[in-house]
Symmetry: C2
Subunit: 458 residues, 2 copies
């Protein structure tokens, strides 16, 4: 029998009791959020109309290295955590690589993804503050499902604006959320000013995360006792998701391993940021030097082809401005299948880390090569991956094949964020040869860049 | 923190290395399989045209108490086992019961269910014998997916006859199997004599497991190097599935627990038999006296309203005769949603145990109460259960509520066989109030009984 098990679980009492805030170890901070009208940095209090107070504080906190996880959240975590760290023995064998491949699997809960880690926290703080409802958006449906789960647990009413293309491609995602008691609205919708305006100018749009964010924010700020919550991009989300990386690091430590290469898929950055944060700490403090790779879809290439600039977090331009890699809110990504990665921007923290050279590499991959990787993986590892996660699998396979060529026994770690049970129409397109790749032209990207705000970008 | 964790995993080296054959401890054996033409008991060799040899031997073996699990199968098991034993703290709290509720969760693998435990074994033995292809049937799609997974791993071509109602209700199940390289045919089909005959007499049939079995058996025996494999009912399947109960028993032992009540859903009996076998050993040998409950759908009530008689295992009457609780192969269950429990018969081992009073109780439950239980469970436990499994949840909740009334702190264990990600159309029917219950009348059942063979039943 192999010394290192296929699936390694920490004990329940080894689940981290604090989140790690990578900003506390960054040599330079991300640029501050700006008020889009005045161009002035926002205060914590300025965020209170949108976010509940505790989350607003977490959003702005650059110095607290560790945040205690409240007992109630720890209690919820124990329902579905720790998640396993899996040694991909079969994938290694299939590839014939000398590399050791590990993945942290976050898909073993109803939401089917890592999103539950932050959903629990956000619903808990909202409930604690006495709020009476929440709104959010969802792309692939993973975040929406996770938050539906958390809100159902805390008995908090929830409205989800679901990107129209996902709403149509994933009726069963909707079914799960409805089973959990959630109200779902396809976005853009005519329930908000922002949605109506977008529908008027572009009636055939299949929607985007940025647009759904606008609607959810508008609905939150115009409803009493309601706040908006977001499953990615935000600093608070990366904080909560650090539990992925903390568990992984502890597990690898026990196994006597340390990754040479760490790979995550990158949409808004929640999974990538959560996985790499504790390892990034090692890099920033000189303890180790792992190589970080962010993998994004070639159809929505914010890190590899976007601009590092101030931009709205949404399409409707109702949010504060954040400095990040962005394709511009006016960029409407093609209706590709990896819905969770269809976002025009990227977490400001990750953007800054990438800009400053700490996050080593961003890589754009095309959809058909992603599904090829997903298919190989599913046949070896008995897990059907979410298309989003499969971006990371693609890169992990490519790195493992490089090791095969060079003979290097590198240790590769990637984040397997979720399962693909709700993505079967995309898989079926791939299996039947009906999947096409799409890479935006420079001209198409320019449309997005033209719409960048002047405020903050002078 | 609670002393007993939410999720308890054995270590990898604690995964059982032998299967347990409950027949070795039964005071009376199930009646032998009969040749439907001669009425004579079948020999092991008689089964070789249908099953691969090793599996035929396991099928007939009444005396070997433990079977070593081959290293290659142990290796595969380690990809997805051990499965967690979960303490349902949240469900207990929601119900306000003093009972302790445990469930063994088998849904954390691509197939989404416990079926993979036997699929791995059956594909392995087939490959080892040098067979070049396999056929099977699938109802809810769980068995088909599991076998697709195993055959993809062992690179064995597979054809799956999928019950038409599931084929239509679960297109994405089909998608998963196709991603794994499987050939899928909706049953009844015009690819077999049996299928053509059934279609001729009943062109609008939505199919049944029994009918799909007929087609798969016919296809196997008429194809060179091909054999038939089955995911339930058979003795060999209960043997392989004993790993569920063995792991559960070991885990409970470590936690210092022992169940007072053990509950499983019952379609063909694979999950129920696997879960209870090692505990049944305790009962049969006088070591303990847990109370066993088999839960079946009121729409297909083989244990509660069927006859204990010899019957064909399929609708097309091409298989040997088995003595079991049966509704008769001519009974066509309504197109209800819990596809995996739509089978006219019941495992001969379980039938015998029930007939002789060792399996204490069979209980039939109606669909809407099952989905009500599933919804409560999903909101508490962050797992969306398969409708099949939810039958067991229904009974577990009912038993826990009885404890609430009586104040008894019973320990309840049930099998959570799988996830419901592919059953969302049924969930959506329930959520929208469009789910109806169906209980066959005595006259409807009589149709099935009238078709029972005379051979063996004189």
């Amino acid at each position: 029998m192999s010394k290192i098990p296929y699936r390694f679980y920490l004990n329940e009492d080894q689940i981290p009791k604090q989140w790690y805030n990578v900003r506390a170890d960054m040599p330079e901070q991300p640029d501050p959020l700006l008020n889009p009208e005045t161009g002035k940095p926002l205060s914590t209090q300025d965020l209170y109309p949108i976010f509940c107070e505790e989350l607003a504080k977490q959003e702005m906190d650059e110095t607290t290295r560790y945040f205690d996880i409240p007992d109630e959240i720890q209690e919820f975590y124990r329902i579905f955590r720790p998640s396993p760290l899996i040694r991909a023995y079969n994938l290694e064998k299939e590839l014939g690589t000398p590399a050791k491949i590990y993945y942290k699997f976050e898909g073993n809960n109803t939401s089917g993804s890592h999103k539950l880690n932050s959903a629990v926290a956000q619903a808990y703080y909202a409930k604690k503050q006495g709020l009476t409802s929440l709104t959010t958006e969802t792309g692939a449906g993973q975040w929406g499902t996770a938050l539906a789960m958390a809100c159902s647990y805390y008995k908090l009413p929830l409205t989800v604006y679901m990107v129209k293309v996902s709403y149509e491609q994933k009726p069963y995602r909707k079914g799960v959320m409805e089973t959990l008691g959630t109200n779902i609205i396809p976005s853009p919708s005519n329930t908000t000013n922002v949605g109506r305006a977008i529908l008027e100018s572009n009636p055939d749009t299949t929607g985007s995360l940025g647009c759904a964010i606008s609607e959810a924010v508008e609905a939150a700020v115009t409803t009493d006792g309601c706040r908006y919550v977001l499953g990615s991009v935000l600093n608070q989300v990366l904080l909560h998701q650090s539990i992925i990386g903390l568990e992984t690091k502890k597990a690898m430590e026990i196994l006597g391993e340390y990754p040479d290469i760490i790979i995550g898929c990158a949409g808004g950055g929640s999974n990538l940021g959560g996985l790499i944060s504790p390892f990034m700490q090692d890099k920033l403090t000189g303890k180790a030097n792992p190589y970080f790779i962010a993998v994004e879809p070639a159809s929505c290439p914010s890190l590899t082809r976007g601009k590092y600039a101030y931009d709205f977090c949404d399409t409707g331009k109702v949010t504060p401005l954040a400095k990040m890699y962005t394709l511009g809110g006016d960029f409407i990504p093609s209706a590709n299948h990896a819905g969770g990665l269809r976002y025009h921007g990227m977490s400001p923290i990750l953007s800054k880390l990438y800009h400053d050279g700490h996050l080593d590499e961003a890589r754009a991959v095309e959809q058909s090569s992603v599904f090829e990787a997903a298919t190989i993986f599913s046949r070896c590892e008995t897990i059907l991956p979410a298309p989003e996660s499969a971006h990371a699998i693609r890169a992990a396979i490519d790195e493992a094949l490089k090791c095969k060529e060079s003979g290097e026994e590198k240790t590769i770690l990637f984040g397997l964020t979720g399962t693909g049970y709700f993505d079967m129409s995309a898989y079926m397109n791939f299996t039947s040869g009906n999947m096409s790749d799409y890479v935006p032209t420079d001209e198409e990207l320019q449309v997005g860049f033209n719409g960048l705000p002047t405020v903050g970008n002078s």
